[in-house]
């Protein structure tokens, strides 16, 4: 059975470090990236099923990642993580086709629920919360 491909981008290293294990346990193939510029390259090279990205990062913002991912494939589900959720930001994200948004600080389980939901929608039936 094919695993959903997942890319997690956050310039805070601890985020990927802590989330990776849990997401893999769900049954995802998880790639972690701290540098958004490298993330853009990855997105261009390979179609991810799910992209999880922080918004506020140096040089390249999560919005650019969102755009890149949606351009690469409209199938990609992009989940936005933000440290400061404003109505403006939410509107912009939705307009650009984000799947959902989650505000820091969040529980790993909450993110996992979102991921499961997205994966199931995409047809990955054997993905579920353990």
């Amino acid at each position: 059975m094919k695993k959903p491909e997942l890319l997690l981008i956050d310039d805070e290293p601890m985020v990927g470090q802590r989330l990776k294990g849990g997401l893999e346990k769900l049954g995802c193939a998880v790639e972690i990236c701290e540098d958004p510029a490298r993330a853009l390259d990855l997105i261009r090279k390979k179609n991810f099923d799910i992209v999880i990205t922080d918004v506020m990062m140096p040089e390249i913002s999560g919005m650019q990642v969102l755009e890149a991912a949606r351009t690469a494939s409209t199938q990609t589900r992009v989940i936005i993580i933000t440290g400061f959720a404003t109505a403006n930001l939410a509107r912009e994200a939705m307009e650009k086709g984000a799947y959902d948004m989650i505000a820091k600080p969040f529980k790993p389980a909450d993110l996992r629920k979102l991921v499961v939901k997205a994966a199931v929608e995409m047809g990955y039936s054997d993905i579920k919360e353990y």
Binding site: E12, M57, T82, G83, F84, T86, P105, F106, P108, A109
Partner: protein
Amino acid sequence: MPFHIRDKTARMAAPDDKDLLDRPIFSFRLQIILGFFTFFILSVLITISAMITINKIEKRIATVQTWDRFLFNIEQARRWEKNFFLYGTNLKDALESTGAALEILNENINSLDSSDYSWQKEEIIRHLDRYHIELNRLSQLVESNRSQPAFQNEIEANLRQFGAQMVEEAAEMAAREYEMVSRWLHLLQKVPAYFLVFLFFLMIYMTRFLSIRFMKPLKYLVNQTRRIARGDLTPLRPVRKFRDEFTTVEVAINRMLKELENRQKSLIDSHKLRAVGILTAGVAHELNNPLNNIMLTAHTLMEEFTDIDDDEKLDMVKDIIGETDRSRSIVHNLLDFTRESKSVMEPLNLGRLAEETTKLAVNQAKVRGVPIHIQIERHLPDIIGDRHQLKQVFLNLVLNALDAVGSDGKIHVRVESRKPNLVIAQVEDNGSGIPADVLPHIFDPFFTTKPVGKGTGLGLSVSHGIIAKHGGRISVESAPGRTIFTVTLPYYPTARGNEEKPGSSEEPPH
């Protein structure tokens, strides 16, 4: 009741006024009065001495007249005497004349004695006596009708001798006295001329003295107002040893400075609160990062508690502690900026200060996706300043730059030292630039091009005030796509002492 009549006098003795008022009074009124009084005394002296001189001249003239009359009588006697020898006229008239001469001498003996010249009193009187005696002898001889030519010849010779001597002496005295009179007169003629010349110079001197006395404090005040206009609000110090009418002005200026300083301080404070408001979004974001890390780590620890080994658990707990520390320092950084604080002048590393301040705004910049590059010279010399106020200046500049840049904005913060004793800090952005017609106004209070609610227009005005207070300058260079604000602050070699107030160094010496 908080209302006191004595309030005014109490304020008069406020510490700043005290130095000014703790001097002896020497007012211009007093100085002018003294000047005119000196002038009056001099005039009185001149007048009195002129009167004395005239009086003396009068006396001398009287003496001259006395001698003239004496001489006249003697000459009269000599004439009678000559007539007697030539024509045999009587001698009675001659005797009368010598008597009159003697009388004149006796009458005026006091005034003659008071003369400046010692006259040969005994000599003249003796000669007069002898002349008189010889005349008497001659008249007795004539009355006795005995002809004794030898005796008569002897008398005649004596008469000639004493008569001639007397005339000579009297004439000499008269001439001397006359000369005296003319000398005094001469002097009297010159005195008014001298007095005029003296008066002329005295007036020039007094005019100069008074105008210098007026101009100096005026000039000082003008210089001080220039300094104040540049934003240096240090109170005036006493420069003269005494108090005068200008002191009132100085005290008033100092009071005004105090008011200005208070007002400036409240402007600074209110603008600071605004800046803090702007920062909140960024700070909230920044704070959420470590909070998120704590949350994720704690949850992971809980979920995987039984699956992981102790080392890993310890690492996670350490991470939690580290992130808590990070949160604390974020909050501390903001609070440190917000805190109501007394203005303390202390040695500061401007580079570190700029770095700390930029950190405050860096998340604000992240929100907008604007990178801030910081470039700081190593081993910067310390400047003397108020850290909170200088932070506020940098924050204003960085926030302005953030407002000015677009989506591809970039901000550079640079701090470096310049010869001879300057530290310069620059905030550069690649934003819209400042139009030429706006540029002259940007430092004016309440001047803003930003929409209501977004800008108050106090940022640069407050920054300018703060930098001026530190004895520095803030300048701007702008073109579309490149705006650089430059803060220049002087530093003082530690050898010269750090207590010295930077702002006071440009005062002209007095």
